[in-house]
Amino acid sequence: MTGLEDLYREIILDHYRSPRNRGELPVPPAHRVEGFNPLCGDEVVLYVELDDGTLSDIRITGQGCSISQSSASLMSAAVKGKSISKVRGLIRTFKAMMSIHETCLGEDSEGASSNGASSDKAAVDLEALGELAALQGVVKFPVRIKCATLSWNALAQSLDEIGAG
């Protein structure tokens, strides 16, 4: 079972079993956006609240596999209270970590290619990712990358829709 332990790290299972920031926020002021993987049915619903250049609150509902749900939970913990530009940076870094194989799996790679994620790859700053680095093992399982990036794409979409930063 070499490899699987890499995927299902302790911390991932922990976030899967006890997801952080679970729930909803009143809309408005919060902004609501859905992320959906039509191939497997995984979904996340994000509620994002901005306050003066900061992502002041985030809540998540949805359902899916351990990777999609723990990634959403880990993300929520990582972005909450951060400035929009920090959040944007984090999204970029995370997607760079995941970018291997993403395009050839047919996921919408707009994000990845237009912000030059693949060229960033060498420069992925794992330390900046903190706990998120636990999801690194996913890249060895190309099919699961879309699970891990689901909530991140939704967050990027949310920021775009709000017109933030």
């Binding site: 079972m1 299902y8 299972l13 497997c40 049915g41 979904e43 351990s66 990777i67 399982f141 699961r144």
Partner: protein, 408 residues
């Protein structure tokens, strides 16, 4: 009870995955092919290939003969009374059903007419009707599911009132449920409705006879019955097909074309626009030959036994931790076993099983209304075919147990 078809006939089954023998349990999604199917297609391309229907040279005549021969073989396999005119080659089950909704449906359904579907149908037998319902203001009704995972027919006669078409799966690709199709068809006909059988899961696994099923339309795919990708079949009663307008327009389906209009060709070509999947038809013919020489009664018996064995083995081993979505009695179901194991998400389960070389599908299986009914977003699904045996089921159980190690 070992597999009735020699595993050695299927080259893919001797593959290794992650250093282990492959245990292929995803035939409901797509089956593997025996050597004879691959050889037949290869031989076709090497010795015979030419476009059909129009050639006056030797290999073109032979291509025609093989293509039309496949039509007859397929028709024979499903008991078609008039295979020469009634068997239409499509690209898959999905296209076959779209052909019916688009050609028959647009001609015969008016605002307010009802179409009866079921909660256990595949998207391919739902979406075409949703589209038509929207376009033509039809009413869609849905047969529910009882606690035994059977179609709930208690209100059938009531629900049939005003229905013009019943479109129903002949075997669920998730639950394995085999609805009492002949009975549904009879009651539908009494109520003045026609009946379409989505037989994508039926034809590969059970002896099929369109007469005893009582359906008016029947759709299935080659790739689920040992044949190639790229080809499916629509069978329909000739009288219906004669009345239906063409579906796609183009070469082969016309009688004449002028600046101001065209007239359609005779059956079956009226519905086969463009160059058809010729090699694929030839391959499907070989697949039918393989299944016939094994015997569909034997296939059914084997799968029933193996399904019982699997249900017993898994329940005994995993008890309360395992939930199986489907009828408990193998007589009422095919060898499709959908399950939930503890709180392990189906995708995670499939990933774990993959490490042991065990191939199962995880997801909504193109049945979102059914998933909603079951209250889950996905299931893991192991599906059996004639080349599977107890060792495959045992390997599945072994591999499932490994989830405990990982998910604590």
């Amino acid at each position: 009870m070992s597999s009735i078809a020699c595993k050695a006939d299927f080259p893919l089954l001797s593959q290794q995955v992650h250093g282990r023998r492959i245990v292929y349990l995803d035939s409901a999604s797509s089956s593997q092919r025996p050597q004879v199917v691959l050889d037949t297609m290869d031989d076709y391309y090497r010795t015979t290939h030419a476009n059909v229907h129009r050639g006056i040279y030797a290999i073109a005549e032979e291509a025609d003969r093989r293509y039309e021969g496949a039509r007859m073989a397929v028709g024979g396999f499903i008991g078609a009374p008039d295979p020469e005119h009634e068997v239409i080659f499509t690209k898959n089950t999905t296209e076959a059903i779209n052909l019916v909704s688009s050609s028959w449906g647009r001609c015969n359904l008016r605002a307010g007419d009802a179409v009866l579907l079921t909660d256990m149908d595949h998207h391919s037998n739902i979406v075409p009707w949703l589209t038509l319902a929207e376009e033509r203001s039809l009413e869609l009704r849905w047969l529910g599911i009882d606690e035994q995972y059977r179609l709930d027919l208690s209100e059938l006669d009531h629900q049939l009132d005003g229905v013009k078409l019943v479109a129903c799966t002949a075997m669920s690709n998730v639950l394995g449920t085999i609805p009492p199709f002949a009975q549904i068809a009879e009651r539908a006909h009494s109520a003045g409705a026609l009946v379409l059988a989505d037989a994508a899961q039926l034809v590969p696994h059970l002896p099929t006879d369109v007469g005893s099923l009582g359906c008016d339309f029947l759709a299935f795919s080659a790739h689920k019955m040992l044949g190639p990708t790229g080809i499916g079949v629509l069978w329909a009663r000739r009288a219906l097909l004669e009345e239906m307008p063409p579906f796609l327009g183009g070469g082969g389906m016309i009688r004449d074309v002028r600046h101001d209009g065209f007239s359609a060709n005779v059956l079956p070509w009226k519905f086969e626009a463009g160059t058809p999947p010729i090699a694929e038809a030839v391959g499907l013919g070989a697949a039918v030959g393989y299944l016939e020489s094994t015997g569909m009664e034997a296939v059914r018996k084997h799968e029933m036994n193996l399904t019982s064995y699997a249900l017993d083995t898994l329940s005994e081993r995993f008890g309360e931790n395992l939930r199986i979505f489907g009828p408990p009695d193998a007589e009422e179901r095919g060898g499709v076993i959908s399950f939930a194991y503890r709180d392990v998400h189906p995708h995670d389960m499939a990933q774990v099983l993959d490490q042991s070389g065990v191939c199962v599908r995880a997801g909504h299986h193109c049945t979102k209304p059914l998933m909603r009914h079951l209250g889950v977003s996905a299931t893991a699904r192991a599906s059996l075919y004639l080349y599977n045996d107890e060792s495959d089921v045992d390997a599945l159980a072994e591999a499932m147990a490994k989830a405990d190690t990982l998910f604590g």
